[in-house]
Symmetry: C2
Subunit: 80 residues, 2 copies
């Protein structure tokens, strides 16, 4: 079973990486951009076949390692 | 209109960041992980209201700045 995890900065947390992309896009002539936020995308290939168990395991991974829950949100999506 | 862009390494391209996450998960006791791949996730808030125009603009942004198309694939998803 595969899991897709999106890790994004919480609203209100400054995103210097997104700001840099925004500026670079402006410098390249892409003016019609109001805001840019950058997050992380992680694909996990899991041995677990049970969706409930897989979700619980990925949730533990996110809170222990993958995301900094003080400033980041995470969303888990299971595939197949 | 908002656009979500996923940038992932092409198959066959080594992913040292994913490998590091895999090892760290193993060290934390998460043994049931076969593979980890890390990508980027970018949210763009666009001024363009026309989906066709927005998609073409984001496609140009990806090929010019956001993605390294030699080693990375990108996927664009428009929201609202």
């Amino acid at each position: 079973m595969k899991a897709r995890v999106h890790i994004t900065l919480k609203d209100g947390v400054l995103d210097p990486q997104g700001k840099a992309i925004h500026n670079a896009l402006g410098a390249l002539g892409f003016g019609g951009v109001n805001d840019v936020r950058q997050g992380k995308y992680i694909e996990l290939d899991l041995a677990a076949a049970d969706p409930e168990a897989a979700r619980a395991e990925v949730d533990a991974m996110c809170s222990k390692l993958l995301a900094n829950t003080v400033i980041e949100n995470y969303a888990i999506e299971l595939v197949e």
